[in-house]
């Protein structure tokens, strides 16, 4: 029984290029108040193009309809739950959008005088201070543009700090449960990646870690809670093992939504970490970005942070570029400022105690999903979970139905799929993170959908194997797309 959705009519819509016709327009420029200039005259005829072949020509009303019709083909947080594990798809408060659009912020030029940028700089400073308090770290840079960019910044900081101690070292340890960005980042920062095996409970094995940590190891990149949603209970001892050998502990803050207001990485031995403002701090995903990946560090590492740094001087905010030990810039200007505005608005709305309440609701939601689904799906790791839980498709796979099929069938029930086939340490993983934004009613609908699908797998697996059935298009052939890539429209 599908309760959440009913089929409804959607509009078909060709590509922009297919609705174009010569002479149509959606713009009007004001009359020039200066003399026109002949482009060929001032730029040289060879430098001036004739026209942009194939570029669209569409009217205003057709454009509104074009993009509105396209938009109705998307699922979104505004339509319902996104149970994507490790993605923290929470509600995006609309006041945050409103304030980020205020003229004095949205139209601030990055090179305008500091004296005329005090409001923007105070927002950045206040966000830095709030994130330092939340993480228990000593200093924060807001420059990285996304989580992976924060990771790169963080590992470059590790390298700089170790170089200052005398040896940058060669290897980074990454648990086998980690996100793909962790090894990719380590490689980009010039390190050799060494994967370390989790124990049977899915957490770091201290014996394995002790053996792996040598004078060659620069850092361990740990996600805590890990990608199973399990808190690394030995995290403080892991930090001690690393520190004893002169290595550092890097924390991927992707799962920080489980900890805000409850525990702080700075208090359990983390030296460098990044946050994802587009996860934990509610800034919208926008179909894949923009994000923001601030990096928080302990005191020893502060001198190496990217330039510029904010500094208060005689009651005014200044940008400090004189930082001789800095790793340099990781991005032009100061980072994704508009995203920072939204994140600060989120923090202000909750306040300190409110943020902790959100964490508790997020963990309650995940545990509720787990408790209600345990009888219907295999739970390969039974350690207590925090903000997310990971099932496996092993029972359903026996009937030929895989995690990806169950995920596609969820679409027919009106839900976005969970994270499929990750983490890699769980075969046929179904990774579910509800976040605090889901009501009991939405959660129950979701859980009932998965229970119903489990029954379908027993009674009529074909129904699941060929899903989705109710979408405007059927299952998409991704293999064909990759075999012969068509990456642009041609007439």
């Amino acid at each position: 029984m599908i309760r959440k959705v009913s089929p409804h009519i959607t509009q078909n819509e060709p590509l922009l290029f297919e609705v174009s016709s010569p002479g149509k327009r959606a713009y009007q420029l004001p009359a020039l108040d200066v003399p026109a200039v002949d482009p060929a005259g001032v730029l040289g005829a060879a430098n001036v193009r004739d026209e942009i072949p194939g570029f669209p020509e569409v009217s205003e009303v057709e454009l509104v309809r074009h993009f509105s019709r396209l938009s109705t083909w998307n699922y979104s947080i505004d339509l319902g739950m996104y149970p994507l594990g490790s993605c923290t798809m929470k509600y995006n408060p609309r006041i945050n959008e409103r304030v980020a659009g205020f003229e004095g912020l949205a139209w601030a030029h990055p090179y305008q005088p500091e004296a005329l940028s005090q409001g923007a700089m105070e927002i950045m400073a206040r966000l830095e201070a709030a994130l330092a308090e939340i993480t228990g770290m000593d200093a924060v840079t807001l420059q990285p543009a996304a989580g992976a960019h924060g990771e790169l910044t963080g590992i470059l900081l590790v390298r700089a700090a170790l170089t200052a101690r005398g040896n940058p070292r060669k290897r980074i340890l990454v648990p086998d449960s980690a996100h793909g960005t962790n090894p990719a980042t380590s490689a980009m920062a010039g390190y050799v990646v060494e994967s370390i095996k989790s124990n049977e409970r899915g957490v770091i094995d201290l014996d394995v870690l002790s053996r792996a940590v040598t004078e060659d190891v620069a850092a361990l990149m740990v996600t805590n809670p890990n990608t199973l949603g399990v808190f690394e209970e030995n995290i403080a001892r892991a930090a001690a093992i690393l520190h004893e050998k002169g290595a550092l502990m890097y924390m991927d803050g992707a799962n920080m939504n489980a900890l805000v207001g409850v525990a702080r990485p700075g208090d359990f031995g983390v030296d460098v970490m990044h946050l994802n403002l587009h996860k934990t701090f509610s800034t919208p995903h926008g179909g894949g970005g923009p994000g923001s990946g601030p990096v928080a560090v302990k005191k020893e590492i502060e001198p190496f942070l990217p330039v510029p740094r904010l500094r208060a001087e005689a009651g005014q905010w200044r940008f400090d570029f004189a930082r001789p030990q800095s790793i340099g810039r990781v991005r032009a200007f100061y980072g994704n400022f508009g995203v920072m505005v939204r994140a600060l608005a989120y923090i202000l709305a909750y306040g300190g105690d409110g943020l902790a309440k959100a964490t508790m609701d997020a963990v309650l939601n995940a545990n509720y999903v787990r408790a209600r689904l345990e009888a219907h799906y295999d739970l390969p790791h039974d350690a207590p979970t925090l903000h997310e839980c990971v099932f496996s498709d092993s029972r359903q796979a026996a009937r030929g139905v895989k995690t990806g099929d169950i995920a596609k069938r969820l679409i027919d029930y009106g839900f976005h799929p969970y994270t499929v086939s990750f983490p890699l340490i769980v075969h046929g993983a179904m990774m579910i993170e509800p976040t605090e934004s889901e009501s009991k009613r939405e959660l129950d609908l979701f859980i009932d959908a998965l229970i119903s699908i489990a029954a379908e797998v027993e009674e009529n697996p074909e129904q699941v194997l060929t899903a989705p059935h109710s979408t405007r298009i059927g299952r998409v052939d991704e293999v064909a797309a990759a075999r012969k890539p068509v990456l642009r429209w041609h007439p």
């Binding site: 938009s71 912020l105 601030a108 470059l156 894949g288 998409v476 797309a481």
Partner: protein
């Protein structure tokens, strides 16, 4: 709290189902000595009204009501209302990365349109779905060229945006990429091909040239392409002012075009979020970093789109990926998509023409530092007075002048970089010109 959708009664009911008494019990797996044990030291939560008030005050402590002649990688172009109308739709704003193609066709189709328009603009065969910004697309393009050529020496023009060069240096430090700079012609302000020729050799992976360059000068990319290709290196064309693409002929010898799309209706927003992009020739597609949308069919034979060539990416290839990039700038790229559609074939050219006209009007009234052809930015001599002093006086007239260049180019200490766009009014340009003439 208004963002939390549960009553306490529901919470109790759910705790029961979980088999625990209190919320705190759910956190038993965190050793008690590692728990915070106090409230976060942050003020109590605010109402929507108070939040709006706080940011309104901050937004007032800003440069509102000034005419601004700054460019240098962030340009003040008009933002058509259509852009906000579309990107504030929750279906675009609050959707996730379109991995689940069946319920993400809106985003995927718009990315396909974005990629197509970027190809049309740059003359390339494929463009990715966005990078963080222009500056980070530079090292990504350099690493791409290094993978393609199997070489590790990169020569970059000193007339590229100084902050872009700094970002390249940060990334390159541990990539075994050797970065070497070549100079610019002190007369024309264009990059100096003779200097490039001296620094190029058979170990060079890429030549990186920005056009219009940081000084606003339109570069003759063909000669850099010839020089690069003569040594088996690639030419990477970097752009910071995308509106110029509406007027300037793409260079047939460019191998990788990369840059910043902020000019396409993306508000300056104190430096971000913006959207970068990398476009290239078909033969290099598999070395592109970042997401790509491709056309395919669904199980019923309909045209459909999905993310493709994922074997380049970190979630599949891990440490062997072309880049670690995951989250990109999708919504910002959508702004650029809507912008390009609004202006279209005629409009983008007309807009570029207006920028050209405004900048040339202003340039005709001041002392230009360089003689090379320019689009909407140029360097002005401020004579005996430091540019900071000129700018300070202009502030009283509600004008923000150009960017003093001494900070980046010590040899250009008496110069500022000035930008005029379609938003620049003649009367403000006259005031600026008058101040610069004094």
């Amino acid at each position: 709290m208004r963002y939390l959708p549960k009553s306490d009664a529901e919470r109790r009911e759910m705790l029961n189902v979980c088999g625990v008494q209190r919320m705190e019990d759910l956190f038993a797996s965190i050793p008690s000595e590692l728990r915070l044990g106090r409230s976060l030291n942050l003020p109590p939560g605010l109402s929507e009204y108070e939040i709006a008030g706080y940011f309104k005050d901050r937004a007032a402590d800003a440069a509102v009501g000034y005419a601004c002649f700054l460019g240098a990688g962030s340009y003040l172009h008009y933002r058509p209302v259509m852009v906000d109308t579309i990107v504030s739709r929750g279906e675009f704003l609050t959707s996730y990365t379109p991995y689940q193609a069946e319920i993400s066709q809106g985003t995927l189709t718009s990315i396909f349109e974005f990629q197509t328009m970027l190809c049309q603009l740059t003359g390339m065969d494929a463009a990715n779905a966005s990078m963080y910004d222009g500056s980070t697309s530079v090292p990504e393009a350099a690493m791409m060229a290094s993978r393609i050529t199997g070489r590790s020496h990169v020569v970059v023009s000193r007339a590229m945006h100084p902050e872009y060069r700094q970002v390249l240096a940060t990334y390159a430090a541990n990539q075994k990429l050797a970065i070497e700079e070549f100079g610019y012609d002190p007369e024309t302000g264009a990059s100096a091909p003779e200097d490039l020729a001296r620094k190029l050799d058979s170990s060079t992976a890429a030549v990186i040239v920005q056009s219009p360059n940081f000084f606003g000068v339109v570069e003759d990319l063909n000669q850099y392409a010839e020089l690069a290709h003569s040594k088996g290196a690639l030419l990477i064309h970097i752009f910071t002012e995308a509106v110029s693409l509406g007027l300037l002929q793409p260079c047939a010898g460019t191998d990788i075009a990369a840059g910043e799309l902020q000019s396409f209706a993306i508000s300056p927003s104190f430096g971000g979020p913006y959207a970068g992009v990398i476009a290239t020739r078909e033969r290099y597609v598999r070395q592109l970093p970042g997401r790509l949308a491709g056309e395919t069919k669904d199980s019923r034979g309909n045209r459909a789109y999905c993310l493709t060539l994922a074997t380049r990416e970190q979630h599949i290839r891990r440490e062997k990926a072309t880049s670690n990039i995951c989250t990109n700038q999708a919504l910002v790229a959508l702004m650029a998509t809507v912008f390009m559609a609004v202006y279209g074939k005629q409009g983008l050219r007309e807009l570029a023409g207006q920028n050209l006209a405004k900048a040339h009007y202003l340039a005709g009234r001041v002392k230009r530092r360089f003689s090379g052809p320019f689009f909407n930015e140029f360097v002005v001599r401020t004579g005996a007075r430091p540019p900071e002093e000129v700018n300070q006086a202009l502030l009283d007239r509600k004008i923000i002048g150009g960017l003093p260049l001494g900070r980046f180019y010590p040899e250009l200490g008496n110069s500022m970089l000035v930008c005029a766009t379609e938003m620049s009014r003649r009367e403000d340009m006259d005031i600026l010109a008058e101040a610069l003439a004094q």
